[in-house]
Symmetry: C2
């Protein structure tokens, strides 16, 4: 199979590509390398199976050119990775989320590419959903601009399924963490401790409680579900069985980094920022019923991630 | 109150403005006059309560200028009115729906305008929802590009509620019909009979079955719900109690126009076009519980609309 992976040089994309290369696929990566890194794909250079195109998903011509490479299936993972940014800059998610997704499905229509997997998010459910939240929860009223762009991406894809005969797998991710992470709470905590090993500032009161899934599990789940689900449109939550609090994450990161004297300080309030959802947990029954289970639950994934990122980033502050 | 009505020179907008003027409001209309008509607002000229700005919702500066007119509340009704267009032109709904709605909420943020009512649609529910469909149905997977843009608009608004403190009333409309209609099945049928009174071509098998609401009822329902619902985000289906088939509509239009010899011919298939939803009916329990009921049900609204449009359009073909 020949796959186009948008955001393929990024965190989740590069792990997915590890698996696609292993099974013998050929991959075209379209990435603007804003948070993705070519080094995440270096280990595939000798295989000749991975071609990287540096391009902008917001530019239709870039997407169309990549789609023209005899593609069988698109994995559309590219997006602004910083959910908080929407509180300050309001057009990033519109452009890099919604309009980029329009460019992807429209290029698919023009190039007659029929299959797409899409990285959506638990944040489309908004606040106040029952926990764990099943796929058929409604109404979905996202409270972050990132969530709005993921919902808009889902709708664009479902309308291309209904109008132009696309086949789609939409995955609503829990918090995906692991090696090569380029953002998120564990990444932030390590960087904070690197700057000041005596103090760790935590946004909110630390009681925010979410579900974490290891990125390797996430990539495996995507490929498993695509191998067994064959409706025109297939919608799956991907997550682990349990949750962890931000307080627990802070304590694990302090432990893993060995910054035993670090004071953990909370900024207070029930959420990290406007648009943050304090409690989130996905129902993963549909994923489990498909025959896939995760290898790690939240705390194990957090510890593994902290260890991996610590090895990548180090604690020596070069700033 | 000073209201901005986007699409105010259009079909639903002009009826809403009739009511806003009656209750003493002042109104700024922002409309590109592509399907809206200044003549729909002529009867308010003497009141001095309605100011019309010809402008493009896709142009942020136009929206920002209109929003700067000391607005208390926005009624965001402007959109591409032609659902079928998305099967041929794929960026109209993205621009005139999604991006226009982004421009509206972003201009609200910058001008500190806090209240918005939004015209969404039953088509956000997609196909296969239980009938009648309640507001909390999920997952919403629209099958038309128009539906995708309405869902994206809902998400943008809900994210501005969650992130920037907007208050919103989102209305998912059934098929709204009535005087001054500029599109839709009854409008199309009258125009077809005007061209050829002996023959009426109907897209699909005529068994498509949807709920129709008279536009005056729709405008009254909007203002009623806004007067009693006061959550940060309020979501209501607006529709009538029953449905009518396209076959019934064709027969009513033939009857009202007096084209008794017209042969009704069906193109076949269960839907009018790719992305059309053959059966749609909204649960209106929430609207009824708010204390509002419609004056007309589907067939009565269809007959009233056919009579009104016939009087406006006439049967003399000038083409």
């Amino acid at each position: 199979m020949r796959a186009l992976v948008t955001g393929g040089a990024g965190f989740i994309g590069s792990h997915l590509i590890d698996r696609l290369v292993s099974r013998g696929d050929h991959i075209v990566v379209l990435d603007n390398l804003s948070s993705g890194q070519l080094s995440f794909l270096d280990h595939h250079q000798s295989t000749g199976q991975v071609k990287v195109i540096k391009g902008d998903l917001c530019n239709f011509e870039d997407v169309h050119a990549a789609m023209n490479e005899d593609i069988d299936c698109v994995f559309h993972l590219a997006a602004n990775p910083d959910i908080r940014l929407g509180t300050r800059v309001t057009d990033t998610d519109l452009k890099q989320g919604t309009i980029a997704t329009y460019n992807v499905v429209e290029a698919m229509r023009r190039c007659d590419v029929k299959k797409i997997a899409f990285a959506s998010s638990s944040v489309v459910y908004g606040e106040g959903a029952p926990l764990p939240t099943p796929e058929d929860y409604g109404p979905c009223m996202p409270i972050s601009l990132y969530g709005a762009s993921k919902q808009a991406g889902e709708g664009l894809i479902s309308s291309w399924v209904g109008t132009f005969g696309l086949q789609a797998w939409i995955f609503r991710f829990a918090n995906i963490i692991g090696a090569r992470g380029t953002h998120g709470v564990i990444f932030d905590f390590i960087h904070k401790l690197r700057k000041d090993p005596t103090r760790l500032e935590v946004l909110g009161n630390g009681l925010q409680e979410k579900s974490y899934m290891e990125v390797g599990d996430c990539a495996d789940a995507i490929l498993h579900v695509m191998s067994i689900a064959n409706e025109p449109l297939n919608l799956y939550n991907l997550g682990s069985h349990d949750t962890a609090s931000v307080r627990t994450i802070a304590e694990i990161v302090v432990d893993v980094t060995g910054c035993k004297d670090a004071q953990i300080e909370y900024t207070g309030g029930d959420r990290g920022w406007a648009g943050d959802i304090p409690k989130a947990r996905l129902s993963i029954n549909k994923m489990l019923e498909s025959g896939f289970d995760v290898g790690m639950d939240s705390e194990e994934a957090i510890r593994h991630t902290a260890e991996s990122l610590l090895a990548e980033i180090g604690l020596e502050d070069e700033s």
